[in-house]
């Protein structure tokens, strides 16, 4: 069994209004060094197989087809074996 962690991020060129709004909050709190806040999604789940390459394939497809929208988002993932 593998634990998968997927991070979905909006493409760097695409505006992130949420990130911008949160950064305004940071400024109000006095975090003057905070720059370029971007908001993404963190998704974790388990893949019930002992075969790492099969797990990778499944996570990749799941991320491509549902977890991210390829028009505006990129994703990256890690797999960690759990016993």
């Amino acid at each position: 069994m593998y634990k998968a962690t997927v991070i979905v991020k909006r493409r760097p060129k695409i505006l992130d209004p949420e990130g911008k709004a949160v950064e305004q909050g940071a400024k109000l709190l006095g975090f003057s060094n905070v720059k370029k806040t971007r908001i993404g999604k963190y998704i974790e789940f388990f893949v019930d197989t002992a075969d790492k390459s099969a797990a990778e394939k499944e996570v990749k497809e799941y991320s491509e087809k549902l977890l991210s929208n390829p028009i505006m988002e990129d994703f990256e993932f890690t797999l960690e074996e759990v016993k």
């Binding site: 505006l15 209004p17 709004a21 549902l66 929208n69 028009i71 505006m72």
Partner: protein, 229 residues
Amino acid sequence: MKPKFGVVVFPGSNCDHDAYFAVKKVLGFEAEFLWHKEKELKGSDVIILPGGFSYGDYLRTGAIARFSPIMESVYNFAEKGGVVIGICNGFQILLELGLLPGAMMRNESLKFVCKDVFIRVENNNNIFTKSVDQKILKIPVAHGEGNYFADEQTLDEIEKNGQVLFRYVSNKGKIGSEFNPNGSLNNIAGIINKKKNVMGLMPHPERCCDPLLGNTDGSLLFKSVAENL
């Protein structure tokens, strides 16, 4: 013959009854609800994907609804030239499904916008606006994610192909960012596919069909479809 509108109902749809009421009770066409778990389109001539918050807008708007069993039938129906209208959340679902190009982002203001807007009909070479004799329509919007996005190449393509059907404008038809409620690229309020049988728009025409509500601009779109089927 009266055309039949099939109104798809997803968990979280909330404009399904408005759409049904508008086409059936106000305009006198046939209409039937289509539950998202079914596959049968029940002889519908036109499919409406209504507004709302299908699947709670979880993950991304429309992202889960597009995998509902009925959507495979809707996809095949559209591929064969069947007429499909996606309103608000329905537009978002059509984008996720890939029947229309682009994607939807959170409104630039981060606020849910609910008000009447003016949209300009950009062309009449399709079933949806063929019989619409007004250049500017007043139709309400109500959404948090109507900020239309497409990459440069796609945007270029849909502009060249005349696929941009509606733009947010002033009441006189002037384009400007002050008339754009959500930050959408090129003030886009609605688009059609290349084959011109699938339309998605953020404003809600079904909410302004009944004369009792003081505005019937929305009815022009449904009437145009019915007249030109």
